[in-house]
Homo-oligomer: 77 residues x 2
Amino acid sequence: MIQATFYHAGCPVCIEAEQGFATAMNPSVYTVETVHLGEDKSRIAEAEAMGVQSVPALVIEGVPYHINFGASIADLK
Amino acid sequence: MIQATFYHAGCPVCIEAEQGFATAMNPSVYTVETVHLGEDKSRIAEAEAMGVQSVPALVIEGVPYHINFGASIADLK
């Protein structure tokens, strides 16, 4: 299985992206972990290290995909 | 099956998004059509009507998800 991580902050754009997008991934190939950076600020550094600049974002095999724009990482600190 | 449309313009960001992302969708639920707006300009208006402002973008059930940023739709005309 390939690990993917969906970073969000509970914003409306984030929720739409999670429901319409993160759940659309092939479940026989990908395991998607959802991380709420507003509630788990200890993982903000991890997201930044992956190249995540805003949420919602999905990181697949180390590559960050920013999906629309909800909030910048800087605003979550 | 749910129809999804991946709009791109052949840019490096587009290709990365297609390979890492559009192909990651659940094939038992989604049919993904790939449209190269640089080669098929007749579909730019359709993409705009869906709310696509830049490529690469994936439209799922009428909702546009802009993935990172490759080029604006305006620059493709």
